[in-house]
Amino acid sequence: MDLSYGKEYDEFRAQVRSFLEENWPPQGGASRDDGGRQFRQAAIERGYLYRNIPKRYGGSEQEADSIAAQIIREEFGAKHAPMEIRAIGMMMLVPTLLERAEEWQKEKFVRPTVMGEITWCQGYSEPGSGSDLASLQTRGVLEGDEWVINGQKIWTTSAMEADWMFCLVRTEPDVPKHAGISYLLIPMKQPGIEVRPLKQMNGTAEFNEVFFTDARTPADHIVGQRGEGWLVSRTTLKHERNSIAAAAQAAATFQGLVQFARDTKRGGRPVIEDPLVREQLAILEGYVCAHEYSGLRQFTKDAKGESPGIISMMNKLHSTNIGSMVAKASLEIMGEDGLMDPVQTGLAKLGVIPSGSQAWLNQYMYSLGIAVAGGTANIQRNVIGERGLGLPRDHYANRSSGK
């Protein structure tokens, strides 16, 4: 056990630092956007960004090295230097394209996506297909040289802004459910597509519904073969997992909560002096620290190229549980401020630590959204039980073939 990164990385860190020294913030009169673009390009050339993307598509094509990646994140973060664009196209579509797409598709889509020139949204969930995603009903019919798409998607982040959607569509209605799905790339800016924001209970709208009425995309904008969409959507590329960041986020939120308890007064005294609040925070801290160290364990295993085992199946549920405990504690701390409307604070966002009662109220409701967004807890428990502990498969899920 050694919590430093080891001597062998000292020089690497020094190189990153001196690169930043020279390149960030940009010299002269470059605009922030231009400066950012130039900086990213330089960072790619040095092998600091888009490390798992081949050079010919705009990446730096480096050997996977989680520690190097972490050092880059730390140093870039300390200087607030631009990092990779972590949009859904980059995170989910690009690996899929690299693994599964035809050459012309890679050429057309990977580089602009990596560079942030085109943005994507994801079309998987439907109102009737949540945990049972493979039952999706959005239909695609090949008419001449175009797919004609009808149906509805839901929980679509950034659908308003996106140029394209990568989308699961039922194209083979006569075969068993998993086998009838294709993976299509669909342009969003067309008359056949309507996007409606989906307002949440806390008053904000981070998701959308997307309605297809004879929406169209060229026949060759399919990744993999017809009916292979389910498999294609399961593709994940080996990459440098960022298991530290999520746990660090939980720790930062927790510190924000402690601060909230220091700042809030009841009967003239800081609420953090209340023994019940102290106990609740201390219980929570046990979970938060456990989560953080689990992240470090997984990070280490990744770096060594070893499997982290069952712990990697627990991340989501563990962090959902923590979110729920944070929410409860915040309600306890805020007292009668719980009577306030959370809406006024605007967006709650992952990565932003709330401050003040209304922001915490927003967080209180937002934590519920997180819980259901990452697959419901029951699905996660199935995964831990079946894949982690080796218990028998669920009867109902079993009946549907595939998956």
């Binding site: 949540g130 839901i154 209970m201 007292g335 719980g338 009577l339 259901v372």
Partner: protein, 358 residues
Amino acid sequence: MNFDISEEQELLQETLKQYVENECPPTRIRELFDSGEGWDPTFWKGLVEMGVAGLVVPEEHGGAGLELLDLALAAESLAYGGAPGPFFGHSLACLAISLGGSDAQKAKWLPGLATGEALGSVALGEAGGAWQPEQWEVSGDGSVSGSKICVPHAGRADVIVVGVAGPGLVLVERVASGVEVQPFEGVDRVRPLDTVVFEGAACEALPEGAAAAPRLRDAGLVLLAADAFGSATRLVDMCVEYAKNREQFGVTIGHFQALKHQLSSMALEIEPSRGLYWYAAHAFDHILDESERSAAIAKAHITDRAMQISRDAVEAHGGIGFTWECDVQLWFKRAMFDRAFLGQPSVHRERSAQLAGW
């Protein structure tokens, strides 16, 4: 031995449930949520015509002369339906004047409150969690000065019963000079709240105000418990309904044992607590030496359960449960109101511990 409600009381509950279901279904509640009105004059008028405004006003003043249990049963039914409006604050104002007012004050205010011509409210909270009478710092000797928070629909009330240090409770007319109503954006949009700032506003003390103040608090606790009970049972019913209809993997999701057990646990958390608010309401009128403590226990227990059930209900609905369109949020926010108003559960647990001499 009859630990049960009467047929008349069952009828009252049933009638109110039906009325809310017909006149203010979730689509209408949602309109009020979106408009920010929190007030439906027609709906309230209907309730008034049913006698709801004067349930606990003595018969000699034109009310129904019923007890807190009847009021609490009404609160449960209204909450189950998600009813908007001033029932809570108005009822407490009626009770306060009945409990602590002089004959003249009763004669002046109660008949109008009972018929709904006048609207009443109560101003109990002060900033920093000061909900309990012994914590009040707003002064009320001759005139009222200071801020009260979370006053239900203060902007529409004719008379406000204000909790003050010293005399305990005083009457202030909303139109009096020195009364400023500042709207507060509250979580439960069908029961809007205001901050009321008094600057030397004219007031009239209730002669029995000092004794009536803690009684009024206790009645408020019982009504909040009843409201939370109604909200929680509604949420459980919604989840069960959803589980019977929503399909995944070729079956309704109620087939999945994990969800089934979650729903069972939710029902188990709330259903047995019905007697808590019944008993506290009954004790308020009939077993005085257990009234204060049983009200504290009912409020702490039921509003805590309702809040947890609200969270569980979101989860039981999957992603959709978190949306503005889903009805869950309407009762979720009602539960948040009930939990925080008059002090959160832990406050009343510590009070009940002290009252028990622990």
